[in-house]
């Protein structure tokens, strides 16, 4: 009897252990620190709207994604550096010039960092800037119609990574090179890296009213890898801070060879002084080649101009404007707190988070002390610039954002967590896991002088088991955390396009009220606009055929065209006559080696078609615009040679 009871208890305890094990296993996949009311906190009821816009870089998709926060819903993918056949971007005659570069047409890039135009260190909702890393470029997106309006290529640069961070009033956006190259680029042995390769840091001026960009000047600096940057604010307004690694100047196996020095640098740049020196005519005008592509709102057409010169300043010209601050170890992120006094370096391989003081840096500069001098640039003593170090923060600190309430939030790639620490005593106060391996993180306004510190969003590099599997290539993701209380709380996982790098967020109310509903047909100055059906026509000019077409619910005019010949280049200039909200029309032709058109109300878009065979070819509207959308179609007849005159049905 007693033995029986012992065995019974044994069996029961085994069952209990397995039950506990099974439960805890189930729990660990959901994540630690999930808010108990998470569902309510992120639920945006049907018809209601999100509180914030979140503009998330698309990484290797080359595009920009727009999400709502707190719901994490994707509203739009804005094509920037990559072609997008859905919107005709990079396929229409109007947008092809946007992707022109000194290397010719480049249909793709790797977009890493977003930054909003600012006034007084706060996002003003006018424009968003985003970098192209692979073929160095900066793009400007207009936040009234969410379209890419300008792309400027950066010469002498390779790997436009520390970009496009904006100064406090968007006087400049910056473009520092991550891969140093010979300047000017030349056919020389790679073994001459240490002596011949240089870094180019470009300051791109932004026009206050039009947003137009121009490269004001370039600084030619020692050949390290310039990684990330932030402009100063308030007292440090005149400065730009930029991390760099590979101070070893290794050209091969950088994984090892660029990880030898105990400290690399944050480069402090007094851009105001550089601006003055450039204005005095310091430096030289270098012969370069770069594309400047501008989209004109009135003609709905982009033009690309190849520019040939840029002002370059070497470290000799601007000695008193550049200082290296030693920073442990291979620093990545470089973030300035809302007061402009503290500069946080994120040393990928460092065991602490170093926090530099702007006022101490000024004293160190005044003291005249330096550890050493590199190519004429003083290296200030580490301790003299240091405000403090965050001890035992975790592993792999990358980026820091601020909540405006005295706390900083640093992403830890290796230990896969967000660490919250105090800006007063540099003590860690909270930490929460991310799933998995967070890269950038973003608080709405978290890089500004006035953060809207309600949420922090993590942009992760891996998802592993977080979503339904989709073969070897899994979704990328972001995670939303509540930071309104003392403890961070996980609220939501949401998938993202490409690979998300930096992202910015701002209150929806500031952007939605200025959102454009349509383009004014009467203001359309496209050279091939057709403002009314009576003006539709087809014109032959040698082998070029121009179709002046209109679309309105539910017909295309003209919709029967004859007299096109094999070998012709047919340009379909389609004007959407609608002046109503949310009524785009599409246009596509069978067998066209090209994309569709997606034409917004009041806009004109041009699709090139080069028919290769005789026959009758249907075309149609691709956007389900109305009840009789299916009827919105027509025919083009293509003949083999001959001299049949062009005919079309007139309205």
């Amino acid at each position: 009897m007693k033995r029986e009871r012992i065995w019974m208890q044994f069996v029961l305890s085994i069952l209990a252990i397995f039950t506990i094990a099974a439960c805890s296993n189930d729990g660990s996949n959901k994540g630690v620190g999930v808010a108990t009311d998470a569902a309510q906190r992120v639920y945006v009821a049907p018809g209601e709207k999100d509180e914030f816009y979140n503009f998330v870089s698309g990484g290797f998709s080359g595009q920009l994604a727009v999400y709502g926060i707190p719901s994490g819903r994707l509203f739009r993918v804005i094509p920037v550096f990559s072609v997008d056949p859905e919107k005709g971007y990079g396929f229409t005659e109007e947008t092809k010039p946007m992707l022109n570069t000194s290397h010719g047409f480049v249909p793709w890039d790797d977009a890493h960092h977003t930054d909003l135009s600012q006034t007084g260190g706060v996002a003003d909702g006018k424009w968003l800037f985003i970098n192209g890393n692979n073929t160095p470029r900066i793009a400007r997106i207009d936040l009234t119609d969410f379209r890419t309006k300008e792309i400027i290529e950066i010469p002498n640069s390779a790997g436009n990574h520390s970009s496009p961070f904006s100064t406090e009033n968007s006087e400049y956006v910056v473009a520092g090179t991550r891969f140093t190259v010979p300047i000017p680029n030349a056919d020389i042995p790679i073994s001459e890296y240490a002596e011949k390769f240089k870094g180019a840091l470009s300051f791109v001026k932004v026009d206050k009213t039009t947003g137009r960009m121009e490269i004001a000047f370039q600084l030619i600096v020692p050949g390290f890898d310039y990684d990330l940057a932030r402009a100063g604010k308030g007292p440090s307004h005149d400065w730009m801070f930029m991390t760099c690694y590979n101070t070893e100047r290794a050209s091969t196996m950088k994984e090892i060879n660029a990880s030898q020095n105990d400290k690399d640098f944050i480069l402090a740049i007094n851009w105001k002084k550089c601006e003055e020196l450039a204005a005095q005519g310091k430096g030289t005008i270098a012969n370069v080649e770069y594309a400047h592509n501008v989209y004109n709102d009135e003609t709905h057409t982009a033009t690309s101009t190849i520019k040939k010169s840029v002002r370059v300043l070497t470290s000799d010209d601007i000695k008193e404007a550049l200082y290296y601050i030693p920073t442990p170890k291979s620093p990545h992120g470089c973030d300035v707190d809302p007061t402009g006094e503290l500069i946080v370096g994120g040393g990928k391989l460092a065991t602490v988070i170093p926090v530099m003081s702007y006022s101490k840096m000024l004293k160190a500069i005044a003291s005249g002390k330096s550890d050493k001098i590199i190519d004429g640039i003083r290296v200030l003593p580490y301790k003299d610039c240091l405000a403090g170090e965050v001890q035992r923060p975790g592993l792999g600190p990358l980026h820091t954002e601020f909540d405006g309430k005295g706390f900083a939030y640093t992403s830890m790639f290796v230990s896969s967590e967000i660490v919250k620490w105090s800006l007063k005593d540099f003590k860690v106060v909270d930490r929460i896991p991310t799933y998995y391996s967070i890269g950038h993180l973003s608080i709405p306004g978290g890089n500004s002088t006035k953060p809207w510190g309600k949420y922090v969003i993590a942009y992760n590099k891996m998802t592993k088991d977080r979503y339904l599997p989709t073969g070897p290539e899994l979704t990328q993701s972001a995670q939303l955390y509540d930071i309104s209380g003392e403890k961070m709380k996980l609220l939501l996982d949401f998938p993202t396009i490409g690979e998300p790098h930096y992202a910015v967020a701002m209150p929806a109310a500031l952007i939605m009220k200025q959102s454009r509903k349509m383009y004014q047909l009467m203001e359309n100055k496209h050279p091939y606009v057709t403002r009314k059906e009576a003006d539709t026509k087809v014109v032959r000019n040698g082998n070029d055929v121009h179709v002046y077409m209109t679309s309105i619910r539910s017909h295309l005019s003209p919709d029967n065209i004859e007299g096109i010949r094999v070998g012709d280049k047919v340009y379909w200039h389609v004007t959407n006559l609608e002046q109503d909200w949310d009524v785009p029309h599409g246009f596509a032709v069978i067998g066209n080696n090209n994309s569709e058109l997606l034409i917004m109300p009041g806009e004109t878009c041009t699709l090139l078609w080069e028919p290769k065979k005789a026959g009758v070819f249907p075309f149609y509207c691709t956007d389900f615009c109305s009840a009789l959308h299916q009827e919105m179609q027509g025919y083009a007849r293509v003949s083999n040679g001959g001299s049949a005159p062009l005919t079309w049905n007139k309205k």
Binding site: I552, R553, E578, Q579, D580, W581, A627, L628
Partner: protein, 194 residues
């Protein structure tokens, strides 16, 4: 009395009637609106009337165009005549003339409403036989007053600000008639007028 007559001039600045069209595709806040003035018809927003006309082609309704509606040329004259007569009545200062003027105003208003109904009837029934959407027995006459369902659209037809000036004019005239019972007031009243 003169103020009552002059109040009618408000009709030159504000629409007297409005028709709002709501549909799943044009929800509240984005609905299409028509404002009927004495001298023109326009959309509540710059493109509304064009958009309504574009949609109406599916059911074969004529385009609503101010130039094609002769009433919009007569109505301003009628209103001006009423204003002029009102001022004359005020000048003469005979009480019974006020009642005559009020009678004229009400008669003009009633005729106007009848004409408006006829106009709505014409647009709602006189449809292009080749229209894409044809529904047996269906007509598209908007209501004279109130709301009605026309296919996917709900049409709301109500007086607008300008109509308020007709009411104001009538009330002021009626008040002038009422106050005119007391002789001292009338003297004062006449003195104010040039």
């Amino acid at each position: 009395m003169a103020a009552g007559a002059l109040a009618l001039l408000g009709l030159f600045a504000f629409p007297m009637w409005s028709i709002w069209l709501e549909a799943p595709q044009y929800p509240k806040g984005s609905e299409l609106g028509i404002f009927i003035h004495i001298n023109t018809i326009e959309g509540s927003r710059p493109n509304d009337l064009d958009n309504i006309n574009n949609l109406n082609h599916y059911i074969g309704m004529k385009r609503i165009e101010a130039d094609a509606i002769p009433e919009l040329k007569y109505m301003p004259i009628i209103v001006l005549v009423l204003v002029g007569l009102g001022l004359v009545v005020a000048g003469i200062g005979k009480r019974w003339l006020i009642l005559v003027w009020l009678g004229l105003l009400i008669a003009a208003g009633a005729l106007g409403m009848y004409d408006f109904w006829l106009w709505e009837y014409d647009y709602g029934h006189n449809l292009d036989p080749r229209a894409a959407i044809k529904i047996e027995g269906m007509s598209y006459q908007p209501p004279l007053f109130g709301s009605a369902q026309l296919l996917n659209f709900t049409a709301h037809s109500y007086p607008a600000i300008g109509f308020g000036f007709i009411v104001l004019g009538s009330v002021l005239a009626a008040a002038a008639w009422w106050l005119g019972r007391i002789p001292t007031k009338r003297v004062e009243h006449q003195r104010i007028l040039p």
